[in-house]
Symmetry: C2
Subunit: 407 residues, 2 copies
């Protein structure tokens, strides 16, 4: 697997949805390259990921000083710009021409499972065409859905945002009681929505009182009955809902409800329904609760939307450090002569939280989706303490709150 | 005006929409009472503001230790619970009976302009009925719309949240370009929406590129043309919109659009249309842009909703300190024998930011609304640097971001 490292330059791309720490990984790769005795080339950033690679739109990142790198690392979203395009073989050949032109022998791609698949395709096509290159995928996704990883950079910070949002929102709902529904990102995996419970005191009446994730089929009739039951018991109800909830046939509720209301449904190139950037699902669920419980119940709904992934100023320290280290590890392995791979964040079994950055094959992670384990989902409408044990060291400390007794 | 301070107990209420620092004011009042040589009574918190006062639902806050008070002060939302009820004369008489029963001679009410009016009514009815009492209003509102105040506790922290949200969202939009519309709280005053510009570098292409506040009439045709113009120039557009925007006849766009789409419109006891807790306005505006610009433009909309006022973990230090000091000042004046008043936060003219806490008459602030000055609104779709000068010391430092050149 390991060979003599190639001489040449490097290109880095950031793909898919931005996160609060994806620039940490970018800077990690740059630092890893700068620190390697085997690498003395230039470092290019591709503007808008594969789009920049297919058009030769590169930014020179060589020689940035540490203070500037640190500031960039602490900046949310993808500093190089992102793309949702997935290149086909011909696109990769267009990219390879620019790689040759720029003497690029190191390819780093930071992204989720689609991006690891892109990295695999680039690596395979280059190999078929006899263009020698080191190709590495650095993990990133707020969905936390990469297989073979304990967790994924970006999720910890988004989870911290969601946990803090629910802490505040639950206190708000306690002050002005009613039903409050919050829709959280997550098309196929419920990890981010599950993070809504992290600020909840065990055994208390703290919200969220109900949590719905895409791993459990959603039934609108059961949903409104669940809400009414909590409301009848404690006089209020805070609900966390994944944007990706779907009925038992697998139809996303967002699409079903939008079509029921006569709206056009926007779909991407993969046929996926647009979920984020609209409040329609939250508003429909609120209306369903109002219809069931009667018009006098105070029902409100928020959609956390893009705030979750790119909010400036709410970051898990641990997530930031791991995102940086994963980037650095990719650069280390590549400059040691390893031809390709994906960096997996894996937890070392034991009482104390400790992780390792291990190389896995690109094909092992590419285009696969990890789900919330069944045993972490309680009755289809709550999240178990096992998830809290899992997530707490990743997300880190949450703000301390003091509640006046007797609620 | 100043007389011998009355002997007796105190009651504190928190009214209206919660904020991130309203518990600072609660703790400030408690600390001010504890520190006064003239006060040796019990301190009661009224659960859900006037609701608790009308039913004798009090919580004893006497003797809390400083560590617990500090934790409560740092907790967002209204720890005592809140209410949107505005008592009538008979309600005040119901309250006075409980005040007598509990030996209450000090009444503190933390809230916005409706709450200052409640405080005025309580004070006047008690006086008419010969029930001697000190009645003080402590300012609070994320809307920043109290007259005779330079600014209002709660706004600074909400403004910091909005500023940080737009910083992150603008970086997100730069990474994945398109049109992004964010709806911000503010029924009549645009101060919170204006805060969207605080993280924008002067003379740059940073967003928000367009800002719409309730102080300027909203024209949907001009709006979509404005958006298209920015998009044509820089390939993307981030927009901040107040929830309270209205057409030239004063009809809220939220109501107009909802009714156009055949939805029922929820109104409160004052006839106000429900604005928060729904994504409908944002979704309508996004649809209008799509219709105008063509379906291939990426258009997304988020509604910041309740996150803005009660988010746990994003607080302006200055706002927190001022909220606390305003509460303390009210307790000081009351225990010095001043019968009634509202604490106004007023800026001392000069180069350095310095404020004073001055007593004003309840009737001078009650039920009045302050607006964004006309000269801070540019072309009906942007906010001037004068606002930035005004707001920066209140909101405090924002996260440092580093952008890769050439955007």
């Amino acid at each position: 697997m390991s060979t003599t490292p190639l001489k040449g330059n490097a290109v880095i791309g950031q793909s898919g949805g931005p996160t609060a720490v994806i620039n940490q990984s970018l800077v990690g790769v740059v630092e890893g390259l700068n620190a390697s005795a085997n690498f003395d080339g230039q470092i290019f950033g591709a503007r808008h990921a594969v789009d920049g690679m297919m058009s030769g739109d590169f930014i020179d990142l060589t020689g940035w000083d540490q203070a500037r790198l640190d500031r960039l690392a602490g900046t949310p979203s993808s500093g190089l710009g992102s793309s949702r395009h997935k290149p086909k073989q011909d696109d990769v050949r267009a990219m390879t021409r620019y790689f040759e032109e720029h003497g690029i022998r190191y390819f780093f791609y930071i992204g989720g499972n689609d991006s690891s698949d892109t990295c695999r395709i680039v690596s395979e096509v280059a190999q078929e065409d006899g263009y020698e290159m080191h190709s590495f995928h650095v993990p990133k996704t707020v969905d936390n859905d990469l297989v073979l990883n304990d967790h994924t950079p970006g999720w910890g910070s988004a989870a911290k945002f969601v946990a803090q949002a629910f802490m505040g929102d639950d206190l708000d709902n306690q002050a002005l009681p009613g039903v409050k529904i919050n829709v959280v990102m997550g098309r196929h995996a419920g990890f981010l929505t599950a993070a809504s419970v992290l600020g909840r005191r065990p055994g208390s009446n703290d919200g969220p009182h109900l949590v719905y994730v895409p791993e459990a089929d959603f039934d609108a009739d059961k949903f409104v009955a669940d809400v009414a039951k909590v409301y009848d018991r404690i006089g209020r109800c805070v609900v966390a809902v994944s944007e990706g909830i779907h009925d038992k046939d697998g139809t996303p509720m967002a699409a079903k409800l939008a079509e029921m209301q006569g709206h056009r449904v926007e779909r991407d190139a993969h046929g996926n329904v647009q979920l984020s950037g609209s409040g329609a699902l939250a508003d429909f669920l609120a209306q369903a609760v109002k219809d069931y419980m009667g018009r006098r119940t105070r029902v409100r709904a928020d959609t956390y939307g893009y705030l979750q992934r790119s909010f400036s100023g709410v970051v898990s320290d641990n997530d930031a450090a791991e995102a940086r280290a994963a980037g650095r590890k990719a650069a280390e392995l590549a400059t040691q002569g390893v031809r390709s791979g994906s960096i997996a964040i894996q937890r070392v079994p034991g009482d104390n939280y400790r992780i390792e950055y291990n190389r896995i094959e690109l094909s092992d992670v590419a285009a696969k989706t990890r789900h919330l384990p069944d045993e972490w989902i309680v009755n289809g409408n709550d999240i178990s303490d096992k998830f809290v044990e899992y997530a707490t060291p990743i997300v880190g400390d949450l703000p301390v709150v003091e509640r006046i007794d007797g609620w």
